[in-house]
Amino acid sequence: MISASPAPLLDVEGLSILLKEKKRPDVAAVDDVSFSVAPGETLALVGESGAGKSLTALALMRLLPKTLGVAAKRITLDGRDLTAPSDNEIRAIRGSVMAMIFQDPLSSLNPVLTVERQLVEAIRLHEPISKADARRRALELLEMVRIPAAATRLAEYPHRLSGGMRQRVMIAMALAGRPKLILADEPTTALDVTISGQIIDLLMELQRDLGLGMLFITHDLHVVRTVAHRVAVMYSGRIVETGTVDEVFATPRHPYTEGLIQARPHGSFAVDGHRLREINGTVPVPAARPSGCAFEPRCARAEADCRAQVPPLVPDNDEGRAFACFHPLQERVA
């Protein structure tokens, strides 16, 4: 894949994740996915449930269960080759070069330890500093993620915090090792609109101030427009379209991207009575993915060749725009 920026922070080429099943042949839940993230850049990975977004992030962190196999042509992170890392390498990188924020902070924070204990542990894992210094840094981190009355929050247990506060603590934990890349897996999906707005603002500010690269996973197109510079649209384990956010939203070339944008309500039915554009059917599970283009059964533009072969992701311009469709939409939607 061609990337606009000279030296990407994260470069992934040909990543596949295989579901190993006993009786049937392996199924690729994520199938030959390539993308890159530059320093200070946010790439949004967007797609519906089951597209393989979380698996992709977990594969980078090497947090997948053993039942899943990972194969990649090349993964480099901050100049390091991570295609087939050893356990030690991955431990050295996890948290300090690359950190992850999950959708549900409660399940990723330890319920029986105070916020301070967990932060101090995370800090001292990456930096050989004294406990007192680590405590000072823990407080700094909580202030950095704008937790009001941070000093008093240090002694709290995670379940005593509201959803938004927990997510802020999660972000503080992720920042503890001073990472360069943040993988954020639907960090605001479980939160209310107003709180989710706050968390997104916070992530964007932190990214700007710290120059972080970010892989932002979401299914919310509105969030994509707000946070991301570039976007990769995933459908049934494959990237079907990628490019800058402005380009992809203004002139989607892949029918699925267009359908996804159109399916969201834009105006008022009460005013003009327009129906929403539907995409018929549902996303196939990996095992039932059609042999050609995965979107073919739902696609209005499908022709015979779409069934015969998987459309490759072909570059469309020098700025990293690419799409995987034999019969793409025209540049300007008439």
Binding site: E48, S162, D192, A263, R264, L276, E278, I279, R298
Partner: protein, 327 residues
Amino acid sequence: MTERTAKRLAIDDMVVEHRSRGGIVHAVAGVSLDLAAGETLGLVGESGCGKSSLARAIVGLNTPKSGSIRIDGQPTDTRRRGAQARQIQMVFQDPYGSLNPRSSVRELVEEPLSVHRLGSKAERRARAKELLERVGIPLAMHDRLPHQLSGGQRQRVGIARAIALEPKIIICDEPVSALDVSVQAQVLNLLLDLQREQDLTFLFISHDLEVVRYVSHRIAVMYLGVIVEIGPAEGIWSLPLHPYTRALMQTAGDAERVAATGPVVKLASELPNPLNPPSGCRFRTRCPLAIDRCSRDVPSLEDFGNGHRVACHRASEWAPQAMSGAA
């Protein structure tokens, strides 16, 4: 919306309380709403503001502490569910939890008919088939169990079950929140088609402001158990007056356009403890525009014309002249 003499659904001063470990939660603290026939009222607000509590009180799942409900002018006792069932039905959020895992799709849709002893067995069967076909469940799936359907299909079954008794009013509590974007559009279209066909009245609860704007004729904004703003959907969308609504709209629509119509409101903090709501205006602990008076006086809903009503002491300061003149 043209005014009609007897509203299809009139909710008057509804109060719902929950006993919880910490004390009594005033989940709904005096809400009055009117819905005309064929109208959709969208209800938005943060998690925990009492939307579901209100919905459940209307369908009789909660016993309200006080307040009354009238359907076409007739007072309705919410506890006598049997009689009311034919008038008000509900579509739930969770397409996984709202269908009995042991009943087939057909049984689920026949159930309301058999409960009310409508028609013979064969007639009920035929009607269930008709209903399922109407909501787009193919015949081959009628004998399946819920777990053999996709989320969107389950939600369709829930809708078929809700319209089986030909109700006048359907309470939709986050009916598309658990669905994929592409499936959301299918279900929203279905709901709106049914509304047009059967002149249904919807109370449509959602936290997705764009969805609410799309389906609603009017929108009510709820905060900590009270309605803080209510009015025509396009009016609220383009000219939100309550600071809380303005904050919501700035996160959803295009922030700049909203900002041009009045003060920018950024919410820094989170919902206060519902066990102990603030005095005066309930929003004042988070309101960047609060003044002294806000902690003393409870603001009441004031009309700014065209049925756009706002409960804020300061709204008239940024309401356009034409509107505040109407107050």
